[in-house]
């Protein structure tokens, strides 16, 4: 058992390419992810929106100003463009979503075109509801008079209020809109946010990506390490060890111990970088982190060894490795593999361990 682990350690130490892949690549990928998804853009996805104000009314210009102030989107304004130009921008991938204000926002429902047209790219389907959410929030927060005015128009049509009452309320809304800096009414305080997993509290999403990258690399590295089983079977080492008492069992157990150790070191390096570069606090939850790390590494090692024992060639291992990690990532959610195990999502534990207690 110790002999098998020794073989794995020495083989890894003497293969510089494999060594750097195992221990230098994970922190590098982590830094890239952290930079792209966290440092560069903050904690929210910043969509690129092409905005076209066709009607240029007072309310449409207020909406343009409100959207320009939205931190969650990046606007590209086209003043002299047409709707076709906006469609071309979306089609060409210049912007994620196009938003055209094609009729006055105070127009009643059913009278002409809906005020806002969203031009979408089928390849960016998720961007549409996000942008619609931003637009609705901008209207609710910055133009509550317009939002309420549209509702009142419908209420008036239904006969629930008179024209005089409607005129009175319209005037009240306008006054309110002018006094927005005061304690005016609106929908701004409708939502508050809370992270159940506490991601974003200690070091923000960096901790999440540290755990996610660690989980991915633990699986990849475990598959690569377990692939030596196939090489050893092909080279005749299995045949040789079948003569030895419990030779194959010792070999498998030694590999398991090595893979768990390798996984621990990989996770430690990634979280070490997270601590050094992004102030992710590992020390406060070190015991939870350690337990989770052992569990995830052990499960990655056992799954990898089991899969590799079924493969008859390295090619099969590579295919299975890519497919397996992608599948587990898809099951667990983007970039967070979820190992199949009753009632727990162990790969997530690396992520959660960082967040426990904060």
């Amino acid at each position: 058992m110790i002999a098998a682990a020794r073989v794995m350690i020495l083989s890894l130490l003497r293969d510089r390419a494999a060594l750097s892949m195992a221990f230098a690549l994970p922190p590098l990928v982590f830094i890239i992810f952290a930079t792209i998804f966290v440092s560069a853009t903050g904690s929210e996805l910043r969509l690129h929106v092409g905005l076209l104000d066709i009607v240029r009314t007072g309310s449409s210009q207020r909406l343009v100003a409100a959207l320009a102030a939205e931190p969650g989107i990046r606007l590209t304004m086209r003043t002299d463009a047409t709707l076709d130009d906006l469609r071309a921008l979306v089609r060409g991938g210049v912007v994620d979503v196009g938003v055209a204000i094609q009729s006055d926002l105070e127009t009643r429902a059913g009278e002409g075109l809906p005020p806002i047209l969203v031009v979408e790219d089928a390849a960016r389907a998720l961007a549409v509801p996000i942008v619609i959410g931003h637009v609705q929030r901008a209207i609710n927060e910055h133009m509550p008079d317009v939002a309420l005015g549209r509702i009142l128009a419908d209420v008036e049509t239904a006969g629930a209020i008179t024209k005089e009452e409607r005129a009175f309320l319209d005037q009240a809304f306008k006054t309110q809109a002018q006094d927005r800096q005061g304690a005016g009414f609106g929908f701004a305080a409708l939502f508050s946010r809370e992270a159940a997993t506490k991601v974003g509290v200690a070091g923000g999403p960096v901790a999440y990506y540290a755990g996610a990258i660690a989980a991915v690399f633990l699986l990849f590295a475990a598959m690569q390490g377990a692939a030596t089983l196939v090489e050893e079977r092909q080279s005749g080492i299995f045949e040789r060890l079948m003569i030895a008492p419990s030779g194959l069992a010792k070999l498998a157990l030694g590999k398991f111990i090595f893979l768990v150790g390798q996984g621990m070191v990989q996770a430690a390096i990634i979280f070490g970088f997270a601590w050094l570069l992004y102030d992710v606090d590992v020390g406060g939850t070190v015991s939870a982190w350690l337990v989770s790390c052992v569990l995830v590494a052990a499960m990655a090692a056992s799954v990898s060894l089991a899969l590799c024992s079924l493969c008859s060639s390295i090619h099969q291992v590579q295919l299975l490795s890519s497919f397996g990690v992608l599948l587990l990532s898809a099951i667990g959610g983007s970039m967070v593999p979820r190992l199949p195990h009753a009632g727990v999502a162990p790969a997530d534990q690396l992520v959660h361990a960082e967040c426990l207690g904060h």
């Binding site: 110790i2 002999a3 098998a4 020794r6 073989v7 020495l10 083989s11 003497r14 293969d15 092909q234 080279s235 005749g236 080492i237 045949e239 040789r240 060890l241 079948m242 003569i243 030895a244 008492p245 030779g247 010792k250 070999l251």
Partner: protein, 329 residues
């Protein structure tokens, strides 16, 4: 199976070795199928202490399966396998596997470890004590002292083969099973392995070696066995089986620079020559005196486009072709 007995006068090798009649491994009427295909079909073999037994046979004749059956790796349908003085079945008593050292056909060692590390690691797998200079003794026996601390992957093919052999010597097994131990290496490296094997035989080890190298079999083997279709069809001492099969016959080989017409073709066949490689190489067996002179006269009189004629003692390659029906180079 035909067993050829040696005549005392011819048995020069016997006096050189420590061979006794003590049987250390036996396969008796082994029948084995893999995936419904018969692999061993009544194979019978006895290995005596201190001998090198060379197993020859075409690919797929069951040689490797016979070795694996001896290691207890394959369950027999019929027959029995026994290893050790008590001839115990390795599938029933795994402890007898300690008596076996197995050298697979491929180089079954860890490539990124040094020679010494490989020996240490395999010793631990085999639960063999490595104290008291056991590793150094192995390095010495396998002539690997000078490269003991070299990483295996940096060594030549011949040295890697010797490491492969040295690993099988861990625990000083009585019986060594070698599956083509010299395949793909040069003459010098092969000679070094021959030296190691001869030395082991002289120390009383029993060696069963599979090879396709007839020269190696003839020079190294105390006994040879020809295997075909899962059975050993002929065995004995190399000189005995050759003499018994060919007597005083010589092999005559005719190499032409051009093809021959139908008349000469018929003449060649009438004196026992057969085309081997297209129509340019012809071979045949002929009586030492009458036969060879008749062929030489025919070649002279028919004025064939002759490049050369070679007359030699028929070797194991010729015997192999005869007993297995396979062509030899």
């Amino acid at each position: 199976m035909t067993t050829v007995r040696s005549s005392p006068a011819m048995d020069t090798r016997l006096s050189r070795t420590k061979q006794t009649e003590l049987c250390v491994a036996k396969v008796d009427g082994a029948v084995l199928t893999i995936g419904g295909r018969p692999v061993l079909n009544g194979a019978t073999l006895s290995l005596l202490q201190g001998e090198i037994y060379v197993l020859l046979g075409p690919n797929g004749s069951g040689k490797t399966s016979l070795v694996r059956a001896l290691c207890g790796q394959l369950p027999l349908v019929r027959g029995r396998v026994g290893v050790g003085v008590a001839l115990e079945d390795p599938r029933q008593n795994r402890r007898v596997l300690r008596l076996i050292g197995h050298v697979p056909q491929s180089i079954a060692i860890f490539p990124r470890l040094t020679v010494r590390e490989n020996l240490e690691v395999f010793s631990r797998f085999l639960n063999v004590d490595t104290s008291c200079g056991a590793i150094n003794r192995l390095l010495d026996v396998a002539l690997l002292d000078s490269v003991a601390d070299s990483i295996v992957v940096t060594l030549s093919g011949g040295l890697q083969r010797r490491v492969n052999l040295a690993v099988a010597l861990i625990g000083e097994p009585q019986l060594l099973l070698l599956d083509e131990p010299t395949v793909g290496i040069d003459l010098e490296a092969r000679s070094a392995i021959h030296h190691v094997l001869s030395d082991l035989r002289d120390r009383g080890r029993t060696i069963l070696m599979i090879t396709h190298d007839f020269d190696q079999a003839e020079r190294l083997g105390d006994r040879i066995g020809f295997m075909s279709a899962g059975r050993i069809i002929l065995e004995g001492r190399p000189a005995d089986v050759l003499r018994q099969t060919f007597g005083d016959k010589k092999q005559i080989e005719v190499v032409l620079t051009d093809g021959v017409d139908d008349r000469i073709d018929a003449e060649f066949r009438s004196v026992g020559l057969e085309p081997v490689d297209g129509r340019f190489l012809w071979r045949g067996l002929a009586d030492e005196t009458l036969g060879t002179s008749k062929i030489l006269q025919m070649l002279q009189s028919s004025q064939v486009p002759l490049r050369g004629v070679r007359i030699r003692e028929p070797g194991l390659d010729v015997l192999f072709g005869q007993v297995t029906g396979c062509c030899t180079p």
